[in-house]
Subunit: 138 residues, 4 copies
């Protein structure tokens, strides 16, 4: 992990990079190759039946994985999503959601890992995803 990077620093960076979305999310935990990010759900995330939409869960998963990369390598900011595979298991009712990202490999070009989308108490799994990001090579 890059030495002193903290939740506070990355939260500030995100506000600069993604002003449209940053205040919908809160970083809960940050370690090397690992992040927990919370989606502060609101009506805009809903689908019929008051369930949270697939694209909202996708955005949460994607942001959480990006944050884990930023915390783990200096080139993280410039990394881009190249592949995502996501299984939706259960539709969450309107509630905050938690994404837990685990990086399994940081290679020269690719970062690979997985994301779980859980209820805030971590008792229910709503979705599970594999992510690949491409990182720039100097």
């Amino acid at each position: 992990m890059k030495n002193q990077i903290s939740i506070k620093e990355i939260s500030k960076k995100l506000k600069d990079i993604f002003p449209q979305v940053a205040d919908k999310y809160e970083i809960i935990s940050l370690k090397s190759n690992y992040s927990e990010v919370k989606l502060l759900s609101n009506n805009k995330n809903l689908r019929p039946g008051n369930t949270i939409s697939g694209p909202s869960m996708f955005e949460l998963a994607d942001l959480s994985f990006y944050i884990a990369i930023m915390a783990s390598t200096d080139l993280g900011d410039k990394s881009v999503t190249t592949n995502v595979s996501i299984n939706f298991m259960k539709k969450p009712l309107l509630s905050n959601l938690l994404a837990i990202s685990q990086i399994k490999k940081i290679g020269k070009r690719l970062v690979v890992g997985d994301v779980q989308i859980l209820s805030e108490d971590k008792k229910q799994t709503y979705a599970q995803a594999l992510f690949t990001y491409s990182i720039p090579r100097n």
Copy 2:
């Protein structure tokens, strides 16, 4: 294809079901097992470097596949996304995007197919996805 369903009817349905998102999209073409849907991009879809975000492309692909299902089976409205695999190939600059969905199989429980995300003139491919939706069984 269900007999008389038209772009107009489905557009109206979408407004009822997804009032938050329906006016960002326009159905361009609709056939049995096939749809073309346009994302009317705006600043909210952007990422740094003025590129359209992955989650915006995911939402476009998901909606376009859902529309193709609605046009192809009576149970389409109640179908839900179960799996998506998406490859992002190139970052689009701010511009309208086109999603072309092709359903390959409508089974008793699952609908399977693919989506291409293209530039409006269809000359550039930005992303490619496989979708599986689950449909309710009576």
Copy 3:
């Protein structure tokens, strides 16, 4: 978990169902929604550079997930793979490999979960996959 099903029983079943492949694999551990299966690698699994081929890892992952399903539901034998997404992270040299399968959801129609492909000592991850199986409905 189905009550008394044991490694011995399932190993015997596999021999009946897949006589071509069963003796290349060994069930190491079996719990509800969980299996560990070992690939006894040999020259037939190789690619240039003496690495184990992607299709060999795919077969190991698929079989291991199937075994976890057989141990977890009575309808397991008749389940079929509907979707797999797999990330290959590192090429294993000729050696036995371990697949650890975890089922996250057993629904009425679909079983969803993930598989890790590891070195026998579990220190190295070679591949990671998401699986969806379809189970017959009575």
Copy 4:
């Protein structure tokens, strides 16, 4: 496409690289970013109910995509599979299968595209996959 490379040349190369598998497959068509490869099915590819196994279809798809890369870039031989997402739609009975690979992007590091697994007469789709290969960078 690399200038003079022919089906004959690539078939010979495959025999050198994959002596275990090359005679199970036949290259039917080869163009820039495109291949058609036939699996000459036999009993070893079977599962209960006399259907062709998922891993056999995976191997066919993977080989067909690799052949399309070999025909399209000089670095193709050394490319390796990094991600595959595959949807199985229907179980084929014992019969030859055709894989049609289309490369959508050859980047500096990644090759991305899709594969269809069809019946020999192209009338039935059995599976559909997205592939990403990594190519070495000089």
